[in-house]
């Protein structure tokens, strides 16, 4: 499928702002969907740039354990002219000491989504005002990040009964 011109232009403008070496990959599988992978150091610049291009609405932040690291995707939607395009900005962190800078000062709406990602895969968002649990119960054991592939459901339940939470 031929990628729409205006979609390619969005990727090119982002590449110009953050630099070619920082834009690792991109794909446009269909109209209104763009996926871009950037280096974690340039995450904030990329979000600022996109917000300035009317991608002001943060739909959500999703996270995936891909084996050799954690991929965090920021799904931004355009609300102004040329509306309806969703760009999914991908950054990858290593498994050990996974951390990313917060974007809550650029997009206040990210505050709960970053907490959710922290709950489920343990990524620390430096600069976030309050990373306390948002989805998981208060008494959840701290070392259990449910959405990591290494934690099977039976193991989670076993761990919960070990610490007497079940």
């Amino acid at each position: 499928m031929e990628a729409p011109e205006d979609h390619v232009k969005i990727v090119e403008e982002l590449r110009e702002t953050i630099g070619s070496e920082n834009l690792i990959a991109w794909k446009i599988p269909r109209a209104k969907r763009i996926y871009v992978s950037v280096k974690p150091e340039k995450l904030r610049d990329a979000v600022k740039h996109l917000a300035g291009k009317n991608f002001e609405h943060l739909s959500t932040i999703s996270c995936v354990d891909v084996g050799d690291g954690i991929e965090v995707l920021y799904h931004l939607t355009r609300q102004g002219p040329g509306r309806g395009i969703t760009i999914s900005l991908r950054v990858k962190t290593p498994m050990e000491n996974a951390s990313l800078p917060t974007i809550t000062d650029i997009m206040p709406g990210a505050v709960l989504y970053e907490r959710e990602v922290h709950d489920f895969v343990g990524v620390i968002f430096t600069g976030h005002p309050d990373l306390s649990p948002v989805m998981l119960p208060d008494k959840w054991p701290e070392d259990v990040y449910p959405l990591l592939k290494k934690w099977k459901i039976e193991d989670i339940k076993k761990r919960l009964s070990e610490v007497g939470r079940n």
Binding site: L136, P137, D138, K139, W140, P146, I153, I156, K157, L160, R165, N166
Partner: protein, 139 residues
Amino acid sequence: MGLITWARTRSPWLIHFNASSCNGCDIEVLAALMPRFDVERFGAILRGSPRHADVMVVTGSISMQVKDRLIRVYEQMPEPKFVVAVGACACGAGVFQKCYNTHDGVDKVIPVDAYIPGCAARPDAILDGVVKLLKKLGY
């Protein structure tokens, strides 16, 4: 039957507790109070505080966060008290079997007197369950 039993079975005061339900059963519990189905003709009304309630209607699959609250509310109800589990999740685990944050039914947490299955349990089924419970109590 004595006067007190007669009074109790003719005016069961309910308290509704949502123990992490998807809300399907909760809106049907609410529909049971509305003019079409009208559980109030059996003398049942919904109260806010467990201290005034005879019957607790529980829906949901009971997450960890809610479990302690459920036990606390149950303990605050005065005797004699009865529990009705509404919906597949409250009766067993429903569709949420093998999820890490749910329990397999209300009866794993507190004693249950009546089970109303269904996903979501229909208002007619809820009325039927409430009436069966009242009959069991001597209505």
